[in-house]
Subunit: 242 residues, 2 copies
C-alpha cells in the first residue's frame, strides 16, 4: 500500500508540517486502526458538556468549533482541515466546553482515548508532536484574539484568509493561490466577531482592491503580498517547519 492511500495519511501529513517524524513513528501512525466515517454537513460531532471517550481525526472535509452564547449569539473559535484532531484536548479535559461540528460533508475517524494513550506511551515523540500541536492551536487562538480585539474588519478578514491559505498550503492542499473554502459569510462573521452584512461589504471592498476573488467556495488570492500587508500577516505563530 502506498503511504498516500493509508487512511492515516492526512494525519501524518499534518504532523509532518509541524514536527519531524522518524520512520518508526511514521509506521506507528500508519498502523493506527482507523475506521473512516462520513458525516453530513452541519452535524455536531461533539457538544458542550459532553464527556468524550474518543478523539476525532479529520481525514477530509471541514470542521469548526464554536460556542453558543446568550441571546442566540455564536462565537466560532477555529476551523479544522484535513489531518487536524480538534478534540485532542479531551485526552486531558474530561468535559467539553464548546461544540465541534461539520461545515460540509466530512470524513472522520474516531479513535478511543485508550488507543491514543497507548500510541503516545509507546512513542514519546508522537506525544511531543501532539502536545506541540495543541500549543500551536493556542497560538492561533491568541492571534485571533489580537484580530478580534485590535484589528478593524478589513485587516481582520485579510489576516484570517492569509492564515487559512497558509495552513492549506502547509499540508499541500493549496493549488497555487487557490483553495477550496466553502464558508458562508455568516460563519466568517461569527468567527471574526462581525455581522454578516459587514463581512459582505468588506469582502466586496477587498475584491474591488484586487486582493481576492471568492466565488462559490473557490477562493483565489489575486494579490498575496497585498493581502499579507492588509492583514499584517506574519506566519511565525503557526510554527510550521518550513
Amino acid at each position: 500500500m502506498s503511504p498516500q492511500s493509508s487512511p492515516a495519511y492526512p494525519l501524518i501529513r499534518k504532523l509532518e508540517s509541524i514536527y519531524n517524524l522518524s520512520s518508526a513513528e511514521y509506521e506507528a501512525l500508519m498502523a493506527l486502526p482507523i475506521l473512516a466515517r462520513s458525516i453530513r454537513p452541519d452535524q455536531d460531532i461533539a457538544r458542550d458538556h459532553d464527556r468524550p471517550s474518543q478523539c476525532c481525526i479529520l481525514l477530509d472535509g471541514l470542521l469548526y468549533r464554536y460556542k453558543l452564547l446568550e441571546e442566540g449569539k455564536r462565537q466560532i473559535f477555529s476551523f479544522h482541515i484535513s489531518g487536524d484532531i480538534p478534540d485532542l484536548q479531551s485526552l486531558h479535559l474530561q468535559v467539553m466546553d464548546h461544540n465541534i461540528g461539520t461545515v460540509v460533508s466530512s470524513v472522520v475517524a474516531f479513535v478511543p482515548h485508550e488507543t491514543m494513550n497507548r500510541l503516545i506511551d509507546d512513542h514519546p515523540r508522537i506525544r511531543n508532536a501532539l502536545w506541540r500541536d495543541t500549543l500551536i492551536e493556542a497560538a492561533v487562538f491568541r492571534e485571533w484574539m489580537a484580530g478580534l480585539g485590535r484589528r478593524e474588519a478589513y485587516g481582520r478578514i485579510s489576516h484570517f484568509i492569509c492564515e487559512l491559505f497558509v495552513r492549506y498550503q502547509a499540508i499541500g492542499l493549496a493549488n497555487g493561490y487557490k483553495v477550496e473554502l466553502p464558508l458562508t459569510q455568516e460563519k466568517m462573521g461569527d468567527a471574526l466577531g462581525l455581522s454578516t452584512v459587514h463581512v459582505n461589504r468588506t469582502l466586496q471592498a477587498m475584491r474591488t482592491d484586487g486582493l481576492i476573488r471568492w466565488y462559490r467556495g473557490h477562493l483565489n488570492i489575486t494579490d498575496w503580498s497585498g493581502l499579507k500587508k492588509a492583514g499584517a500577516f506574519d506566519a511565525t505563530y503557526l510554527h510550521l517547519r518550513h
Copy 2:
C-alpha cells in the same frame, strides 16, 4: 520545612487546583531546584522572537502576555498569577510569538528546559498535569475570544472580573470577595479590546450598579451573583477540580 514555606509551594498549589497529585509527585515538585528572583514592574521576561532555554514559574506577583501590533496597538492575551508557568509552551515551541512581562514587582523562578523535561520524564502524571494546564489555558483563550467577538463592554468586563476572581480563589488568594488586582484601566482595555476611556465609563456604571468596588488595586465584588449574571459567567471552562 513546612510545605508552605517551600519555594515550589505556589506551583504545587496551582497544579493541585486542576489535578490530583500523588505524594510522590508532590515530593518531586518540592525537590525542584528553585532559585527565586525578584523582577521589577514593567519588565519583559521573554520577548517576541526569543528562543528561551528555560521556563519561568511565577511565585509571587502578576505577569501578563501581550503582543505589539501595527500602529502601536497592543493586545494582552492573559494575566498570570502565583503558580502559573506562562512560557511552558517554550518546551515545545522554540520561538516566542509574543512577550511576557511583569505588571508589578514579581518573584519568579527560572527552570531550565532540561530540568523540566527530566521532571516530566520521571513523573508522567506531572507531565499530564502540565499538558492539561496548557489546554486549560487554550480554553481560557477561547472564552476571551467569545468576549472579544460577541460580548458588549459591560458583560465583557464583568466576565473578565469573574474569571480572575475565581482563579485567585482557586489558589486560595481571595479574601472573601476581595482580591488584590493592581491593573490599570489601560491594561484592562488592551486585554478586552476596549479603549481606556470606555473601560473607565463602564467600570463606573458597574460601580453605580453595585456590582463592584475597585480602588487602588483593591477589588471588592459587592454583588457576586449580579456580576456573574452580567458576564454570563460559567466557570466550566476553567476545568478546576472543585
